[in-house]
């Protein structure tokens, strides 16, 4: 076929060559004769061109090359070929997509509402994958039902404010649960990794399977890309997304502060379950915000980002919390400085409290447990975890176990009083009691076979040298929160232990500096 081109008017004059009708493998039907309509002419041209694809000996490149040779050197034939080729390709791709869409609509038997239902059962990440599968899924995946439970936690910081905002917006008032932040991978299996002292029931402990205190995983990690305003979409749109939110779990969002967290809480009056791990917020302020805004709350899990140094809790905060949040059944405050008198307000005051975890707390001696079992607050307790509480006294634990033997705490199913440093001796908390020989553990297990009692202590004397070491020298202590792999805090040489520190009945503040280690000291393992 030879084309004569008029470069000014760009008209093609065609000299048709008969197409052999033996191209029977072609799926193209015979077309009627062209009419005078220019559009029809173009369509026929296209048709004839595309029919060429059936020719076994087609060598388009050769023909094009020959044509090019026969043209004057300044011809724009190549550009035209590129342009036309591209236009044709786009048209074909578009039609191919339409065909794929049609195919999908035939092949996918479920109506949109059933499709939403399936997608709503997928986690947020999987939702993204199915969206990418085809356009129908992408549309279905935008239904608010699919965003009821948002889990945007990742192993490394990847989610930014824009992603959070988009998802929350899509959920709108369907939003019920939001998990956000950086959750480091853990070597431990979920729950506690520990030998069982006595176990009949499955573990019922609710701790997340990692801890902010796991410094080894924190090292080298980029700071979260989420900023302090990442939760502001909860207040957006008239507060619709936050209004019915039931569950909010936040992990290791570096830039979040008390103000922004409290702002978010003020948008969530229906909150039932709040979990905060590794966020730089003050305990007192946060609890005040919960008191003020989240009156329906049932579960509060709060793990400090600065173990042992947040001493902000005041008695009044506890009273307010007890008065304003009567539905609380599960309370975990880990890694804070808690005094017995304040803790007592909490444990006695919450009438429905069943689950208590004060692991890694400073200052509490166990005094708050006295006379608890036979009155309102203590009677309903099912789980009590006081793991690695530095100042927990052996004497108080013995007293507590004796109360159990006497018939108190009838509903207690799980008790954990383990401590990697052993329990504190009566006179001087600095001296440790390493064995459980003094404690009536066997008797309790016999009297209460349904109870699970965890009491792990290091064997006698294994840390004796360490503790007898000079106070001024570097002392290495293994300090871990219950489920981490065991991270190390080392005190600096200026730190000292104040032996008055242990008393639980005073509001007075101690001068104890329990220094946080510098990172390079971290790699020692005991």
């Amino acid at each position: 076929m030879r084309l004569v081109m008029d470069t000014v008017e760009e008209e093609f004059v065609e000299i048709p060559i008969p197409i052999p009708s033996s191209t029977s493998s072609s799926s193209m039907a015979k077309r009627p004769c062209p009419s005078q309509n220019p559009r029809m002419e173009l369509e026929n041209l296209l048709y004839q061109f595309l029919s060429l694809s059936d020719r076994p000996s087609l060598s388009l490149d050769l023909s094009f090359e020959n044509l090019l040779q026969s043209m004057p050197p300044d011809t724009d034939l190549i550009d035209r070929a590129l342009k036309m080729g591209s236009l044709l390709l786009d048209a074909a791709k578009h039609s191919s997509r339409k065909r794929a869409s049609n195919h999908n609509s035939i092949v996918w038997p479920l109506p949109p509402d059933l499709t939403f239902k399936i997608f709503s059962m997928l986690d947020t990440q999987s939702l993204c994958y199915v969206s990418a599968a085809c356009s129908f899924f992408s549309k279905c995946a935008k239904d608010p039902l699919c965003y009821e439970n948002l889990d945007l936690t990742t192993l490394v910081p990847k989610v930014n404010n824009a992603v959070v905002a988009t998802m929350i917006q899509r959920a709108g008032k369907a939003l019920r649960s939001l998990k956000l932040g950086v959750v480091p991978a853990t070597a431990c299996s979920p729950g506690f990794c520990q030998p069982m002292v006595s176990t009949i029931r499955k573990a019922i402990v609710e701790a997340p399977n990692f801890s902010w205190n796991d410094k080894r995983s924190r090292q080298g990690r980029e700071s979260s890309v989420l900023t302090r305003c990442c939760l502001s979409p909860l207040s957006g749109d008239g507060g619709a997304p936050g209004a019915l939110l039931r569950k909010l779990h936040l992990y290791n969002i570096e830039r979040m502060d008390s103000t922004s967290l409290c702002g978010a809480l003020s948008a969530c009056p229906s909150l039932l379950d709040l979990e905060i791990v590794g966020i730089h917020v003050e305990l007192r302020q946060t609890l005040m915000s919960v008191s003020a805004n989240c009156h329906l709350i049932e579960r509060l899990f709060f793990e400090s980002s600065r173990t042992g140094r947040d001493d902000s809790l005041k008695a009044q905060t506890c009273s307010e919390l007890v008065n304003n949040c009567p539905n609380l059944t599960s309370l975990s405050l880990r890694g804070f400085k808690l005094h017995d008198c304040k803790v007592r307000i909490l444990v006695k005051g919450f009438r429905k409290l069943k689950y208590v975890d004060f692991s890694s707390s400073y200052s509490i001696t166990g005094n708050f447990l006295r006379n608890l079992g036979n009155c309102n607050g203590g009677n309903l307790l099912e789980v009590l975890i006081l793991r690695d509480c530095m100042h927990l006294k052996e004497m108080e634990v013995i007293r507590f176990l004796t109360a159990i033997l006497a018939g108190d705490f009838k509903l207690l199913m799980h008790l954990d009083i383990s401590n990697r440093e052993g329990l504190a001796c009566e006179a001087d908390w600095y001296h440790r009691c390493y064995s459980s020989n003094n404690m009536p553990i066997k008797q309790v297990l016999e009297a209460r076979p349904d109870m699970r009692l965890v009491a792990e202590y290091p064997s006698e004397g294994s840390y004796a040298e360490t503790f007898d070491a000079e106070m001024n020298s570097d002392i290495s202590l293994q300090f871990s929160s219950p489920t981490s792999d065991g991270s190390i805090f080392m005190s600096t040489s200026e730190s000292s232990y104040n032996s008055d520190h242990g008393s639980g009945n005073e509001e007075g503040q101690d001068a104890v500096i329990y220094g946080e280690s510098s990172d390079e000291d971290n790699n020692m393992n005991l």
């Binding site: 997509r97 999908n104 092949v107 947020t124 994958y129 990418a132 599968a133 085809c134 992408s138 945007l152």
Partner: protein, 154 residues
């Protein structure tokens, strides 16, 4: 006649007719689990044969079996026997017959099979084709960039 589950009034048997003409005799209280059938009965108490035009015999059989046997254990094993096509058709059946427990079970089963799988895998499983335009595709990749890691290697 198995009378274990019947009370006095429900020893009555009902016939359900599938779309391909297969007939099933079921006890009234089994049939009542299908809210659609219940509606038929409510409308006309004497009815004996109820047409189920949307459901094939083989699927109706499975549905009836499910209603009879459903419990936690059964549900867990139930979904493993069926391929994706059957799951979808069973879901349509359960939807039409308005059996919420079965619907829930099947939705979960389908969701479980595509959880944490790449878009390519999802397409393969459902026999669907990618009809995203390049612009849409780019937009999606950008929006979901954070998610595209840690997918099952399939």
């Amino acid at each position: 006649m198995a009378e274990e589950k019947s009370q006095a009034s429900s020893s009555k048997m009902l016939t359900l007719k599938a779309s391909d003409g297969v007939l099933f005799e079921v006890e009234l209280n089994i049939a009542k689990e299908m809210k659609t059938v219940q509606a038929y009965i409510d409308d006309c108490e004497d009815i004996e044969t109820i047409p189920i035009p949307n459901v094939l015999g083989k699927h109706l059989a499975i549905v009836i079996e499910y209603i009879k046997k459903t419990n936690e254990e059964y549900d867990a094993e139930f979904e493993k026997q069926w391929n994706m096509d059957d799951l979808q058709l069973l879901l349509l059946a359960a939807n039409y017959l308005n059996i919420s427990g079965l619907q829930e079970c099947l939705c979960k089963a389908i969701a479980k099979r595509i959880e944490n799988k790449s878009p390519e895998y999802v397409r393969k499983v459902f026999n669907i084709e990618n009809d995203h335009s390049p612009e849409e595709e780019a937009k999606l990749r950008k929006e979901y960039k954070w998610a595209f890691e840690g997918v099952d290697k399939d």
